[in-house]
Symmetry: C2
Subunit: 306 residues, 2 copies
Amino acid sequence: MINTLIEKIKKTNAPIVVGLDPMLAYTPGHIQKKAFAEYGETLAGAAEAVWQFNKGIVDAVCDLIPAVKPQIAMYEQFGIEGMKAFAKTVDYCKEKGLVVIGDVKRGDIGSTAVAYAVGHLGKVTVGSNSLYSFNEDFVTVNPYLGSDGVNPFIKVCKEEKKGIFVLVKTSNPSSGEFQDRLVEGKPLYEIVGEQVARWGEDCMGDSYSYVGAVVGATYPEQGKLLRKVMPKTFILVPGYGAQGGKGADLAHFFNEDGLGAIISSSRGIIAAYKQEKYASYGEEGYADAARAAVIDMREDIAGALA
Amino acid sequence: MINTLIEKIKKTNAPIVVGLDPMLAYTPGHIQKKAFAEYGETLAGAAEAVWQFNKGIVDAVCDLIPAVKPQIAMYEQFGIEGMKAFAKTVDYCKEKGLVVIGDVKRGDIGSTAVAYAVGHLGKVTVGSNSLYSFNEDFVTVNPYLGSDGVNPFIKVCKEEKKGIFVLVKTSNPSSGEFQDRLVEGKPLYEIVGEQVARWGEDCMGDSYSYVGAVVGATYPEQGKLLRKVMPKTFILVPGYGAQGGKGADLAHFFNEDGLGAIISSSRGIIAAYKQEKYASYGEEGYADAARAAVIDMREDIAGALA
C-alpha cells in the first residue's frame, strides 16, 4: 500500500492528504437542515449530516489528491450511528480510488493490539469465515506501550500489504511535555523515531517502509532531524494550515527524491468556505471552496519544494 | 464517580474490576452455536456471541464486584456490530449497578480529544439536544500527546462527575522501551506519574482524584514508587493473573487506608473455565467458574493486604 500511495502522489503531483474530521459546526446549514428533517436532532441526524458533508467534499477533490484521513473520534462521538458514517466514508473513499488513512491513534498490547489491527486493517475470523470490518489502508498508532503494541499491526500490514503511521512528534503545543524530554542527551521523539526506523526495516515497499511516522508541521526543526533519523520512513505531517504550519516549513520533511512526506490538512480544506479567502463560495459552495483550497495548498507545497 | 467507585469497593470488600475482553475463542461452543444459527458466521453472529457471553458473566458476578472494564478493541474488531455489543454491554452493566471503566486508551488533541471525551463520558450537542453516546463512567487515556490530550477529558469529567485512568507504566514486557527511559535520572513513567498527580489536583473527590493512573501488576517495584509519587491518585492495576502478576505483588499499590488501587483481571476470570482449577464447571458452567475465580481473587488480594 505504501507503493500505491507513492504512485498516487506522483500521479496527482500532490503530497496531500485531506483530513475528514467533520465537526458538526463545519457542516453547512442546508445539509444539517435536510439531515435533521429526516432523522431529527439525533445521533443519526448528526451522522447523516457528517456523511453527506463528506460525500460532497470527496466528490469535489478526489481527482486532485492521493489520500484522505478520516479522524475516527469525530464519528465515534456520535456512537453507533457515527461509526456507521465512518465506515461509509471509508468505503466511499476507496470506491473513489483514494488511499484511506484511518486516524485512529490506537495503542494497546497483545491480543488487544491484534484486535485493533485486524479490525482496522485486516480480517477477523468468525467460525470458518475471514471478514473485513473497517478495512482502512493505513492507520495511525500510538507508541507509548512499546513493541508489544506495534508488532501486531506490523504483522497484519505484512499479510495485507497495508501500513501504519506511528506517532513520533505530534503537532500540538504541549507535545513536548513528554516527547521532548531528554534521554541520554536525545529527546524522546528521536528515540521513538529510531525505533520506528527499526520497526520499518523488515517491511519495506519498493523505496519506503510500510511503517511510517507522524511528525507535526509545527515543528520543522524536529522534522529536519527526524527526516535523517528515519530515511526510509514515510512521514505523515499534520498541523499544516489551521494549526499554524506553513509551506516553507515543509521542505525538510521531504527527501531529495521529492518524496517521503505527505502533508495533512483538515479544517483548512473541509471548512475552507469559512475563511475570508474562500468566503465567496458561500455555504452552498463548501465543496468547491475545498477544491480551491486543495489547489492552493498544492501550489504552496510545490513552491516550498522548488 | 471516584467516590461511587470507592463506596462500591468498600461495600463489596473487593478492589476488583473484571475485564470484559471477550475473544471469540473464550465463548463456549453452545453460545457460539446459538449465535451463528441466528446470524450466521458473520460480524453480527460474533457480536451476538460476545454479548450473550458477557451477559452470563455479569449476571454471575455483579453482586461480588464494584466495576467492570470492557476492552473496546475486542468489540471494535467486529465493526459496527461489535460496537453495538460494546454499547449494550456498557448499558447492561450500569443497569446492574456496576461502575463501567471503558478501556479505550484514546489519546488525541484539541477538538479531537474533546470528541472522544464527550463521546465516551459526556454529551454531544446535536442541534438543540445534548445526547449521550457510549456513556461509560471512566475511560483509560494515553498520555503521549501531553496536556492537550488530557485536559479535554478532565473538563468533561468535572462536568459529568466522571473520571479517567491515564497510562503511566503498562503491564506488558516491552513497556520499558520508552516508559523506562531515564530523563534527568528519573524514568519517564515517574515523570508521567508526577504529571498525573498534577492533573488530578484540581479534580478531587472526597479522598482521591477523578484522574487516576494505570500501573501494571507485573511491575511491583515501580508500583511502590508510583504509589508515593501519586498519593491521591487511584491506580488501576492490570496484569494480575494471566499476565503473571500475583496477589503478593499488589500490597504496595495500596495506600495505608487500604484504598487507592483496583486490580483488574480479564482472562483469569472470564475464561476461568479453561483453567485446570475450574475445569469441573465445564463450558456450560463458564459463568459459575468466573464467579468462583472472583471469590478466589478476592481472597488472594485480602491475604496480600492483611
